[in-house]
């Protein structure tokens, strides 16, 4: 929404450039705010998403991810700030924009008692997609065998696949996935990641919200870390972690190495032993590992670098709570 105090109304070379860039971006969000009573759900969020990008919005529950997404999708009106999606404003309901975007909702929003095939055909027909194409999409997400199963009888992972298929059935340029792997077991999550990567190839832009740090690290080209309605940091996951200068953690089975000996290793910062494994925290993992090798204490060694979890801890000063 244009606000009176916005500088956007005036024509200036800078503005012209900015407008050009907005057209080039798949999504452009600027100064977004949304308040529910006293709660500032979204409190000044700005970012751009490029075409073909896999963009993640990461943060704990209640960080404002979903509200941000809903404003971009056109389900809610922002109190302040501007949003353009594929060069168009999403609010009010924009029926020229809607066919170009696909939305997978947090809840599995299915028609009751329809089979997977009927479900997908129904959603497809809302976009003028023929039934055969909907059936083909069912194969793409690996549900070909479950075509005639009613949605209530699908497993959690299958239901998520179907809801992703429902978001993709009309071949949108831009796809929103809201916590697609919530409540899935690790195996199903990994399978779904493969599917999501597949969707991303071929120039399709994906915006994903998640509260799983590992998911964002594995899937996203860039991640916006959100907490309390604000973006704390934005960048490629690897860059965020690298910029952190977080220590690596090296762990081996307990008893291979005495705690005192471990502390004496060159480069070791802190050492802890919980009775199961001994963990050495270090900023020079190669030196520590070399020294451990010399002591022949590398059985079952595991080395963990910094993660987005560490980034979150560093940014907020508190443990990440999913």
């Amino acid at each position: 929404m244009e606000k009176p105090n916005s500088t956007r109304g005036r024509v200036s070379p800078g503005l012209a450039l900015r407008n050009f860039l907005i057209m080039a971006y798949t999504i452009s969000v600027d100064g977004l705010r949304k308040r529910y009573g006293d709660v500032r759900a979204v409190d000044g969020v700005s970012f751009d998403v490029h075409q073909g990008e896999f963009f993640g919005i990461l943060g704990p529950n209640g960080a404002g991810k979903t509200t941000t997404l809903e404003i971009i999708e056109g389900l809610r009106e922002a109190d302040e700030g501007t949003v353009t999606v594929l060069g168009l404003p999403p609010w009010p309901r924009n029926s020229t924009l809607l066919p170009r975007i696909g939305v997978q909702l947090q809840a599995s929003s299915f028609f009751e008692r329809l089979t997977a095939r009927e479900q997908l055909q129904t959603f497809g027909s809302l976009y003028g997609v023929p039934a055969e194409k909907a059936d083909a999409m069912l194969e793409t997400v690996g549900l070909g065998e479950k075509a005639d199963v009613q949605v209530e009888k699908l497993s959690g992972g299958q239901a998520q696949r179907l809801s992703i298929a429902c978001a993709l059935v009309h071949d949108p340029e831009l796809v929103f996935l809201d916590e697609p792997t919530a409540a899935l077991d690790p195996q199903a999550r990994r399978n779904l990641w493969d599917l999501l990567r597949e969707i991303n190839t071929g120039g399709r832009t994906i915006v994903l919200t998640t509260h799983h740090m590992d998911e964002a690290e594995v899937l996203c080209d860039r991640v916006a870390i959100m907490d309390r309605g604000r973006i704390l940091q934005l960048g490629p996951p690897a860059a965020l972690v690298r910029g952190l200068d977080a220590p690596a953690r090296i762990s081996v089975a307990s008893g291979l190495l005495a705690e005192e000996d471990a502390r004496a290793l060159p480069g070791a910062d802190t050492v802890s032993d919980d009775g199961v494994s001994l963990t050495i925290s270090t900023r020079d993992p190669s030196a520590v590992v070399a020294a451990m090798a010399a002591k022949d204490a590398l059985a079952g060694v595991q080395i963990h670098g910094g993660t987005l979890e560490d980034v979150f801890l560093e940014l907020t000063g508190r443990e990440y709570r999913a």
Partner: protein
């Protein structure tokens, strides 16, 4: 992306969802039909059973009456012969027969039990009239006065004639209100409304589909009701303008849908919607005259009954299907039902929310 394609596929989705919902099928289709069968069966054949009379030996007047007008007599009495007087009296005493009749000279003696005075009184009346008729016949002169009995009720007051439209009204009310309120609440809480809002399908297609599916279900209910009530067992007779019940049913369904939409727009959970729906539909069925005729009800109750849309539907259907009123007699009721639909739609639109939050 045409509106019609969206409308068609949403209608199909809703219809399949309904057809596969065994609970909904039972409560909207089977349950009311069970009531029809039970009510039609219980109140349908309320003709008094025939008087059972045992004739002991020869009874001249009775033999004459049977010979003369046996068919007519057979409608009110079943007469069995017997020679064993003691056995016949025992049967009367035990209630297996209503009377035993014998002739002693010129007297006709009727043995009866005081246990069922109404029945014995009836038989006594019959017997007296037979004896009188015989007496007159003996004089050889035609009777001066004749009594012609005529029942005030014709076929149209048979129970099935009342219960078919009334229970149909109830069935339509509960299917309509439930259908709309449940769809709206379920679709909202499950996020289907949000999903539809994010599709290019026009909102009119979404609601149009619900309305059309409900009308389709209502007409199927009507067809089933009429088909069953017209079975020979129940013997429903329809008057000439019965077809006028179709627009009545359609406008009734619209009214019930709009009430359901109001409930569905207001209620946050399915449980709340269900409770409120029951709280409206059941009193409406009772006071709207679906379970008993309101003709004999006190004035205040009759006045109260007009609060409920079902009352107009029931009255309209009774008028055209059973009372033989002309097609135009249903117009006021149709008008009122459409008015209620409109008012409900306005309120529902104002209360409508896309989101559960």
């Amino acid at each position: 992306m045409s509106t019609f394609a969206s409308f068609k596929s949403l209608s199909r989705a809703m219809y399949l969802g309904f057809r596969r919902d065994k609970g909904a099928l039972f409560f909207t289709i089977v349950f009311p039909l069970m009531f029809l069968v039970i009510f039609g069966g219980v109140f349908g054949n309320q003709t008094t059973s025939k008087a059972k009379v045992i004739q002991i030996g020869r009874v001249t007047v009775l033999d004459q009456a049977r010979a003369h007008d046996g068919a007519e007599l057979g409608k009110i009495m079943s007469i069995t012969g017997g020679t064993d007087r003691a056995a016949a009296l025992k049967k009367v005493r035990e209630g297996d027969a209503d009377a035993a009749v014998e002739q002693r000279g010129d007297s006709v003696v009727m043995h009866y039990s005081a246990a069922d005075q109404v029945k014995s009184g009836t038989v006594r009346g019959y017997m007296e009239s037979i004896v009188q008729t015989a007496n007159i016949a003996v004089t050889g002169r035609p009777p001066t006065y004749r009594m012609v009995p005529e029942q005030v009720e014709d076929d149209s007051t048979k129970a099935i004639q009342f219960f078919t439209p009334s229970l149909l009204g109830w069935a339509l009310a509960s299917a309509g209100v439930f259908g709309a309120s449940q769809t709206l609440v379920t679709w909202r809480t499950k996020g289907i409304l949000r999903r539809l809002r994010l599709s290019p399908a026009p909102i009119s297609a979404v609601f149009g589909a619900r309305v059309v599916v409900s009308i389709g279900i209502a007409l199927a209910q009507m067809a089933l009701f009429l088909a069953i009530a017209r079975l020979p067992v129940f013997g429903l007779k329809l008057q000439d303008s019965w077809w006028m019940a179709i627009p009545l049913v359609v406008s009734g369904v619209l009214a019930f849908l709009s009430i359901g939409m109001v409930i569905g727009a207001w209620a946050k959970t399915q449980e709340a919607a269900q409770t409120v729906t029951q709280l409206i539909v059941l009193p409406m069925a009772f006071l709207g005259g679906s379970f008993f005729p309101l003709d004999g009800a006190p004035g205040w109750l009759q006045a109260l009954s007009y609060v409920f849309p079902l009352r107009y539907l029931n009255e309209g259907m009774l008028n055209v299907m059973m009372r033989g009123l002309g097609p135009s007699s249903a117009l006021p009721q149709i008008g009122i039902l459409l008015g209620i639909s409109l008012a409900g739609a306005v309120v529902a639109t104002r209360l409508f929310r896309w989101d559960a939050a």
